[in-house]
């Protein structure tokens, strides 16, 4: 009798425990599904919105495809409007590549310093500084650029200081933390035995870094560089403040130029939705979005290569 009672109690309690567990499971799963669904819906609708707005330049306003991508005259409010976006596409690529060229060596050196050369106090000192860099709002970068970098360039180089060089310098500081942190992760994930066998063969520290560590981690470091470039390509405010925004392909590093983002931010608020000028800005936003997809694609390819 007693045993039987106990068993029935145990069965009952375990039954109720299972039910509670099931309910929690259900709540958790449905909450998560809801969030994921919301995420997918918002991403899809954003892509749809930008695309539909972006293509209306070509479908509604009848701007020629090649006029837009290869035209060099940007005069959207003129009596004979023309929408050549090549100067901005060129400006975006020039500043992004320059910023990556300036920032990559610095970031890789900083990462090597933190992981290989002085892992102790070097990391303790540099890590917070670099994390701090990524937390500074872009308007501050722009203002520092305008107050420090621009006067410096004006005094040292020909031109007015405002221009491609100033934009690239500001951007390079902004993407420094992205490249560095990815490089640090890659370098610290490197198997110890690789390094140790190199040392065992009698290689010096510099030989190990140059011949073993960098070649092995290069795909991962390149991921960081591409991520940094994606950030530089999409950055708007800081660049807009120091680059000058003249709609022309620059002939020198110290000449005023525009990027896709700077033209969009300058024009979007002042134009009415649906006007040809506004549509052309959305087309540029579409170009930006497609470029972001391309950057993500490149990062994926690099990761695939790393895993092999």
């Amino acid at each position: 009798m007693r045993v039987q009672n106990n068993e029935t109690i145990r069965v009952q309690s375990s039954k109720s425990r299972v039910e509670k567990h099931h309910i929690e499971d259900l709540i958790g799963r449905s909450y998560m599904s809801l969030c994921v669904l919301l995420l997918i819906v918002s991403i899809v609708s954003m892509v749809y919105f930008v695309t539909s707005r972006g293509v209306s330049t070509f479908t509604i306003d009848k701007v020629g495809f090649s006029d837009f991508f290869f035209g060099t005259t940007w005069s959207p409010e003129g009596d004979h409007p023309s929408f050549g976006a090549l100067p901005f596409i060129a400006g975006s690529f020039i500043t992004t590549l320059l910023a990556a060229l300036i920032a990559s060596p610095l970031s890789i050196c900083a990462a090597l310093f933190m992981t290989e050369i002085v892992p102790g106090w070097g990391k303790k000192l540099l890590q917070p500084v670099i994390e701090l860099l990524s937390g500074i709002p872009s308007v501050v970068y722009g203002f520092v650029g305008l107050s420090v970098i621009v006067p410096f360039l004006r005094n040292v180089f020909p031109g007015q200081g405002i221009g491609v060089a100033a934009g690239a310098l500001v951007l390079s500081v902004m993407i420094l933390p992205t490249i560095t942190s990815v490089a640090v992760d890659a370098l610290s994930a490197l198997p110890r035995n690789l390094k140790e066998s190199s040392f065992a063969l009698g290689a010096t520290r510099w030989q190990t870094i140059a011949r073993v560590i960098i070649p092995t981690t290069l795909p991962a470091i390149m991921t960081g560089v591409v991520l940094g470039m994606a950030r530089a390509f999409g950055e708007a405010l800081a660049v807009q403040m120091v680059i000058g925004n003249a709609p022309f392909i620059p002939t020198s590093l110290f000449e005023s130029a525009s990027t896709l983002t700077s033209v969009i931010t300058l024009g979007m608020g002042n134009t009415t939705m649906g006007s040809p000028h506004n549509n052309a800005l959305w087309s540029m936003a579409l170009v930006l979005m497609l470029m972001t997809f391309l950057f993500v694609f490149i990062v994926r390819m690099l990761e695939k290569r790393r895993s092999i």
Partner: protein
């Protein structure tokens, strides 16, 4: 606790009442000083009548500080009203008010100038409320050595015909143009009323959208020329006379200085009671001679001339 709270509430209420009473007195006093008695003081008193509801305004960032400040005061007087003011630019304001997403669309330009061609129908539905006037002056770097420029000289500079200050009687210094983006309302006003023609962007010119940045760059860049609203002018830049006329408030009011534009607050159709009360409050002397002048705008009510969409100026 509860009694403490109610005490604070009571204190806050009385202080608000006292403050608004002060505001009213101030408004009436200035009205009396200006000599506009009678009719003008009436709306100030009727603003005590309770209205309620919420108002959403968006648009011009040039007008935003004024609307925000006046909205703040209006909400103090009318506890039931909630006003939200957003920026976004004149184009955004006009688009949103035309599509009834907001109650008021703030704009630096006439709706007809932005809503053209296919959108012209939308502009017809909008009702214009002109709350202030903004005058724009050509400014240069202090070392350019020029006090006044004629209309033709300005046109030649902004179209790239004149590239050195010595050609207009200044220092031997290359001219650096600091422009606004092609879609900017300030640029449209400057081109329409100072130059009389649209200009193309020149290679090497600099474009900035924020007045603060424009002022900073003009003040620091040797040989720079640009244009700013009167409220932004100070000693860091040189204000240039236009055809010999000084860009002063008096010259704008009397119509001698032509480079100015209205600040518009558009509603879609006739406004409802709450929005109307808010817009009427803008026209009171308390606001026109208080907040409007305080923030560097020129009261629309003071203007001795008026101007229509086509730019025809008539004496009031």
């Amino acid at each position: 606790m509860r009694s403490k709270k109610s005490w604070i509430m009571a204190l806050a209420l009385t202080s608000v009442l006292a403050l608004s009473a002060c505001g009213n007195n101030g408004g009436n006093n200035t009205a009396a000083n200006e000599g506009n008695t009678g009719a003008s003081s009436a709306p100030t008193e009727t603003s005590g009548a309770e209205v309620s509801g919420s108002i959403l305004a968006s648009g011009s960032t040039a007008l935003q500080p004024l609307v925000e400040q006046v909205a703040e005061k209006f909400m103090e007087k009318n506890a039931g009203v909630d006003i939200q003011v957003q920026g976004g630019g004149s184009g955004t304001g006009l688009t949103q008010v035309a599509e009834k997403q907001v109650d008021i669309g703030n704009s630096d330009v006439f709706a007809e100038e932005k809503l053209k061609d296919a959108d012209a129908e939308k502009a017809k539905a909008l009702v214009d409320h002109q709350v202030a006037v903004v005058a724009i002056a050509a400014v240069s770097h202090p070392a350019a050595g020029v006090d006044t420029l004629t209309k033709q000289q300005l046109v030649d500079i902004f179209t790239g015909k004149i590239t050195n200050w010595k050609e207009v009687g200044g220092a031997d210094q290359k001219i650096q143009i600091i422009n606004r983006p092609a879609s900017s309302g300030t640029r449209a006003t400057f081109e329409k009323f100072a130059l009389g023609t649209k200009t193309e962007d020149l290679p090497g010119s600099i474009q900035e959208d924020s007045s603060g940045t424009v002022k900073k760059i003009i003040g620091e860049t040797p040989g720079a020329i640009g244009y700013l609203a009167l409220s932004y002018l100070d000693d860091s830049v040189k204000t240039l006379n236009y055809d010999g006329v000084e860009p002063s408030v008096d010259n704008v009011v009397s119509g001698k200085y032509p480079v100015w534009a209205y600040e518009h607050m558009y509603t879609n159709g006739e406004p409802n009671a709450t929005v109307k009360a808010f817009l009427d409050y803008f026209q009171t002397d308390e606001v026109q001679n208080g907040d409007v002048t305080e923030l560097g705008y020129i009261p629309a009510s003071k203007m001795q001339v008026s101007r229509d969409v086509a730019g025809n100026v008539t004496n009031k």
